[in-house]
Amino acid sequence: MFSGLMLTAWESASIVAVVAGVVGFFIVLRGSAFAAHALPNGAFAGAAGASLIGVDAIAGLAVFSILGALTIAALGRRARHDVATALVIVVMLGLGSLFLSMTTEYAPEIYSLLFGEVLGVSSSELIPIAVIGVVAIAAVFLVYRPLMLSSVMPDVAEARGVGSTRMEVIFLVVVALTTTMAVPVVGALLIFSLLISPAAAARSFTNRPFTAMGLSVLIALGTVWSAIALAYLSNLPIGFFVGSIGALTYAAGRGWAGRQRNRGSTPRLGAPGRSAARAQST
C-alpha cells in the first residue's frame, strides 16, 4: 500500500488536497461553486485537445482552464455570472466532444480523465504538479487581504480601491491553476468535491478564517487519504469515496452547527463584518 507507484499516488494526492483545501475556502466564501465545477469540467476538453495534437495533457488543461477563467470574467461583466459560467462550460465541452470525435482514444482513458486515476500519476509528473500547486497557494496569500475583503464585503472593498472585477479575474485564474494540477490526479469531476465539501464543512465548525482554512486542508487531506486507502482495499473507483466522504463530512459539519445553534450557548462570533455580509447577501 505504500510502495513504488502507491507512494507517488499518496504524494500527488496530498499536494492536491492541500491546495484544494486553501483555494476551496475562498470558493465557498465567495460562492463560486459553479466556476469551481465549470473550469475543471471544461479543462477536460483541453486535455482531449492536447492528446489530439500530441502535447502534454497538463499544457492542454492549463490553456483551457485559464482561457475559460478569463472568458467567464469577461462575459460576467455584462451578464449574470451564472449564465456566463454556464455558457463557457458548454462551449468548452462542445469543443471537447469535437476533439473526442477526432481521436481514437479509448473510453477508459476518457473515464480516467473525468474521474481521476491516482495510480496513473508518474513520479516525473509530481514536479509540475507541486510547482503549480505552490504558485496557486502563493497567489492566494499574496492577495490574501484584498481577496478576503472583496469576498466578504465587496462594497467596502470597492470603496477602498480593491476592484471586484480584478479580484474575480485573479481568483478565477487561481482556480484554473488548481484545476490544471488536480485534474490529472483526481479527475475533472471530483476535484470539485474536494474544493467544495471540506471547505464547506470547515466553515460549519468555525468562523475564523485561518482556523477554517487550516481545518479545510486537514479535512481535504483526511478525505483523500481515506479515499485512497478504501479504493486500494476495495478495488472500487476512488471518485466514489471522495464524493461520498465529502458529502458525509459536510453533513457532519451541518449537524454540529445545528446542534450548537439549538443549544444557543455560543453566540456565533464571526470575523468582523461577517454578519454585515450575511445581511447584504440575503
Binding site: 465557498v28 465567495r30 460562492g31 463560486s32 461553486a33 459553479f34 469551481a36 465545477h37 455584462r78 451578464a79 449574470r80 451564472d82 449564465v83 459560467t85 454556464a86 455558457l87 462550460i89 458548454v90 462551449v91 465541452l93 462542445g94 469543443l95 466532444s97 469535437l98 473526442l100 470525435s101 477526432m102 479509448y106 473510453a107 477508459p108 476518457i110 473515464y111 473525468l114 474521474f115 469531476l189 471530483l190 470539485f192 468535491s193 467544495i196 465539501s197 464547506a200 472500487l236 473507483p237 476512488i238 471518485g239 466514489f240 469515496f241 471522495v242 464524493g243 461520498s244 465529502g246 458529502a247 459536510y250 451541518r254 450575511r278 447577501s281 440575503t282
Partner: protein, 299 residues
C-alpha cells in the same frame, strides 16, 4: 427554393429516419428547455440546471446497471436530487449554489461507482461516453411518445403556476406580500427543472442540455424584458439552433468523411454561443447609441 438549398443540404437529409427522429425530438426538447430555461435564468439557477444534467448521470448509469431505460433513472435521480437541494435549502443565492455543489459532488461520486460497475459488468466501455455525452442520432424512434409525455409534464408545471412563478422569480418579497407561497412555487419549479433536464440530458446529452436551457433563454432575456415573450423567443432560438446544428452535423459527414463527421453537440453549442454574443453586440450598440444621444442632449 429546393434547388437553391440543395448545395446546403446533402442528399437524403429529410428521408433519413434517425435525422427525422433527431429533428422531432430536438425540436420538442428545445421548446421545453426554452420555456423552463427562461425562468432558470431569471431565478439565477443556472448552476442547478447544469448540475441536474450531471447528477442524472448517476441515475442513468444505475438504470443501465439494472437494465431499465436510462430516462427513468435520470428522472428518479433528479427529482431526488432536487428534493435534497431544497431540503439543505439555504435561502441566500450564494448558499444555494453551495447546496447544489454538495449534492453534485455526492452524485458524481455515485456516478463514478455506477459507471465503473457498468464497464466491468458489460465489456462495452462505451457506456460512459453514451451516458455523459448522449447522441441525438442514436435515439430509437420508439422513445418519441415517452419524451412527449415528459415534455408536457415539465411545460405543464411551469404553465400551471405561470403568474406566481414570474412574480416570485422577480422578487420573492413582493410575491410573499401578494400571498404567493414562494417556497411551494420554488419546489414546483425545481421539479419541472428536474424533469426538463432529465429529458434533455438523456436525449441530446448533458452538454446540449445545459446549452439549450441557458443559452437561448439568456439571449431572449437580452432582447425583451417580458417573461412570456422571452420564453417564446427562447423556444424559437433553441429550435432553430438545434435544427441547424443537426443539419450541419449531417452535412459534415460529407465534408469530413475521414473523421466520420463532426458531433451535433459541437455545432449546436457553437451556434447558441454565437447567437448569444450577437445579441450582446446588438445590446451594446443600442446602449452606445443611447449614451451618445444623452451626451449630445447634455451638450
Amino acid at each position: 427554393m429546393v434547388a437553391f438549398l440543395s448545395p446546403l443540404i446533402e442528399p437524403g437529409f429529410f428521408s433519413n429516419l434517425p435525422v427525422q427522429t433527431a429533428l422531432v425530438v430536438g425540436g420538442v426538447v428545445a421548446v421545453v428547455s426554452g420555456i423552463v430555461g427562461t425562468f432558470t435564468v431569471m431565478r439565477g439557477q443556472s448552476f442547478a440546471g447544469h448540475s441536474l444534467a450531471d447528477i442524472g448521470t448517476a441515475g442513468g448509469s444505475a438504470a443501465f446497471l439494472l437494465g431499465i431505460s436510462p430516462l427513468f433513472g435520470f428522472v428518479a435521480m433528479n427529482l431526488m436530487a432536487a428534493g435534497v437541494m431544497e431540503w439543505i435549502g439555504i435561502r441566500r443565492p450564494r448558499g444555494r449554489d453551495l447546496a447544489t455543489g454538495i449534492v453534485l459532488g455526492a452524485a458524481l461520486g455515485l456516478a463514478a461507482l455506477f459507471l465503473y460497475l457498468d464497464s466491468t459488468a458489460s465489456s462495452t466501455t462505451g457506456a460512459t461516453i453514451n451516458v455523459l455525452f448522449g447522441s441525438i442520432f442514436t435515439l430509437p424512434s420508439s422513445m418519441v411518445p415517452v419524451i412527449a409525455i415528459f415534455s408536457v409534464v415539465a411545460a405543464g408545471i411551469v404553465l400551471a403556476m405561470y403568474r406566481p412563478l414570474i412574480l416570485s422569480s422577480i422578487s420573492s418579497d413582493l410575491a410573499t406580500a401578494q400571498g404567493v407561497r414562494v417556497r411551494l412555487v420554488g419546489i414546483g419549479y425545481l421539479a419541472a427543472l428536474a424533469v426538463a433536464v432529465s429529458l434533455s440530458a438523456v436525449t441530446i446529452g448533458a452538454i446540449l442540455s445545459t446549452a439549450l436551457l441557458i443559452g437561448p433563454a439568456a439571449t431572449a432575456l437580452r432582447l425583451t424584458n417580458r417573461p412570456g415573450r422571452a420564453a417564446a423567443f427562447a423556444a424559437i432560438i433553441g429550435v432553430l439552433a438545434t435544427w441547424l446544428g443537426v443539419l450541419l452535423a449531417y452535412d459534415s459527414y460529407y465534408w469530413f468523411p475521414s473523421t466520420g463527421g463532426w458531433p451535433v453537440s459541437f455545432f449546436v453549442v457553437t451556434l447558441i454561443f454565437v447567437i448569444y454574443l450577437a445579441s450582446q453586440i446588438r445590446f451594446r450598440a443600442r446602449s452606445g447609441v443611447q449614451s451618445r444621444s444623452t451626451a449630445t442632449e447634455a451638450a
